[in-house]
């Protein structure tokens, strides 16, 4: 059962104190995935094609439906803001009407090195040594070759779907505070702690299309599952004091 919250005020503040942790480096699936020799494709869009595609786009923040980290965002100008910086933005093609998503930050590894970028539905791989781009039907993903870990997965859906595209990715803007936009759930500053969600099953909605935010997280971790955000200025506003990168022994 989804609970509906009509928000006509600036924002809701939730403070959940859970210490952030950083991503595990190995997994039992890794050995299996290393032996995979199946459908792996390489490919990037040419500069001219990218330029042409970009010139065809307009701002789509007022009308869209997207599943990001397993949560539904509908007409939310800034779905996720981290330390006053918007992480995700949308545009729409004037000719095809196709919704396009941009990650306003690069996908990076734990050490900060750039893996790939996502601009207007185009994933450009920077590190082709350790990562591979997988292509499917209206689908792109970035996979770490050795571990099989998926760092980004973008899927465009058919016209009659609840959402127009689905995006999942792991963002390590601050290594001590991972933002896990998993295909099924969203976690801020926490990972694999086997704790139930802090927020489950709510629709945060504003009928005024104002600047209101659904909620704000300050220096704390949070796990959100099965929530939807509609007609808001900001979905989730995160404010975190960035710590130093933990050493391997931590």
């Amino acid at each position: 059962m989804l609970h509906r919250f009509n928000l006509n005020f600036e924002s809701v503040f939730l403070n959940v104190s859970q210490p952030p942790c950083h991503i595990a480096r190995t997994h039992p699936a890794a050995a299996h995935l290393q032996t995979y020799r199946g459908r792996v494709h390489f490919g990037t869009m040419s500069t001219n094609a990218l330029r042409k595609a970009l010139s065809d786009m307009n701002d789509a923040t007022t009308e869209y439906r997207a599943l990001i980290g397993g949560l539904l965002y509908r007409n939310v100008s800034k779905p996720i803001v981290f330390n006053d910086k918007s992480l995700i933005s949308f545009t729409r093609s004037n000719t095809t009407g196709q919704l396009a998503v941009t990650l306003d930050t690069d996908l990076v590894e734990n050490d900060g090195s750039v893996i790939a970028s996502l601009r207007e539905n185009v994933i450009t791989l920077n590190n082709t040594t350790d990562f591979v781009k997988l292509l499917g039907l209206n689908r792109q993903a970035v996979m770490h070759k050795q571990t099989g870990r998926i760092w980004c997965d973008l899927r465009l859906t058919p016209d009659n779907y609840v959402y127009e595209l689905a995006l999942s990715c792991i963002l390590l803007i601050a290594p001590t505070y991972p933002i896990v936009l998993h295909p099924d759930r969203t976690k801020f500053g926490t990972i694999n702690d086997n704790a139930p969600p802090n927020w489950l099953g709510g629709i945060f909605e504003s009928k005024t299309k104002g600047e209101a935010g659904a909620f704000r997280i300050e220096n704390s971790a949070m796990y959100v599952l099965n929530a939807a955000f509609e007609n808001l200025g900001v979905g989730i506003d995160i404010s975190v004091q960035i710590c130093e990168t933990p050493s391997d022994g931590d």
Partner: protein, 321 residues
């Protein structure tokens, strides 16, 4: 006598080239494919976290394979009747294969499980659960296919008859071209052995066509098959994997178990980025849809509590079945 290395390489190259082109037909596959099943089947799949792939020779409708066999035979025969420029070797190849090609020889087996592009088809509900109580399990194979415990592929079923004929004709053309080239190079020195190797390669290639063709009347199914190729030859290969066996209407049916346990396990790990592979579950027309919604939701959450199960009800009235 064995064939020369050059001839062997030519056959290998031919087979690789044919298979590479054939793979293009099946790639990419839809992001969600649905398996229609009963309540018992659903429970078996979800509880054991595995699929049962049946040996294609024992599928419910044997006429499926017969349709393809007859089509291939007819094109080989037509080639003999129409063409006046076939060489003796080419005639020998076609004559030798048109009645005797057998993709299941040499203990080869193809295990298969059917999927559909649509998750709410009346014909499928009728076919699988005439009395109601059917389910359509929507699987996202984009990542899950790599995580199965046996190597599997997805194969798209071709329903258009002209397309089927084109694929067969193209295959015959390519085999005859290689045959012609090799006979020009090596003459008759190795004719029998070369012909036997070519026939084996041809059987393997048509083996792919046989289970991917269906009568055009079934086009609404939009079927895909999850297939696993295996060879069980315990007498000579002590490591060959034995299939499982079950009974059906007095027959002993071989099948292969393919586990997706690892796909479930990985979906529970936040850092691995893999979604829960069962992305949708459609409850077919039934009198107790609401009750089943609760039980099936609990069943799915028992596999992974960190998801929002996408369970829907078919809007099709039960009386239509």
């Amino acid at each position: 006598m064995v064939i020369s290395d050059n001839s062997k390489s030519a056959i290998d190259a031919l087979l690789q080239s044919v298979m590479k082109d054939w793979e293009k037909l099946h790639d990419p596959y839809p992001n969600i494919l649905y398996h229609y099943t009963s309540a018992e089947g659903l429970l078996g799949i979800l509880s054991n976290k595995n699929f049962h792939l049946t040996d294609l020779r024992y599928v419910n409708d044997f006429s499926e394979l017969q349709y393809s066999r007859e089509l291939i035979e007819s094109r080989l025969t037509a080639r003999l009747e129409d063409s006046k420029v076939l060489s003796g070797a080419e005639r020998q190849f076609i004559n030798g294969n048109r009645h005797s090609f057998d993709p299941f020889q040499f203990s080869n087996a193809v295990y298969s499980m059917s999927f559909c592009e649509e998750g709410n088809l009346l014909s499928q509900w009728r076919g699988y659960r005439r009395g109601g109580g059917g389910y359509a399990l929507g699987i996202d194979f984009f990542h899950a296919l790599r995580l199965l415990d046996k190597p599997c592929s997805l194969r798209k079923i071709v329903y258009n008859r002209q397309d089927q004929l084109n694929y067969i004709d193209l295959l015959i053309d390519r085999f005859l071209t290689t045959l012609r080239a090799e006979f020009e190079n090596d003459g008759q020195n190795q004719a029998d052995d070369f012909m036997r190797e070519m026939s084996e390669a041809f059987s393997r290639a048509v083996g792919e066509l046989i289970f991917c063709f269906k009568h055009p009347d079934f086009v609404e199914e939009r079927e895909w098959r999850l297939v696993h190729f295996a060879r069980f030859k315990p007498t000579t290969d002590r490591n060959s994997q034995s299939p499982e066996f079950r009974t059906f209407e007095g027959n002993v049916i071989p099948y292969a178990i393919v586990s997706f346990d690892r796909a479930i396990e990985v979906s529970r790990d936040d850092s691995f980025g893999y979604g829960f592979p069962i992305v949708e579950l459609m409850i077919g027309p039934t009198i107790s849809a609401e009750l089943n919604l609760d039980s099936v939701t609990a069943l799915i959450l028992s596999m992974n509590p960190d998801i929002s199960p996408n369970i829907r009800q078919s809007g099709i009235p039960l009386r239509w079945l």
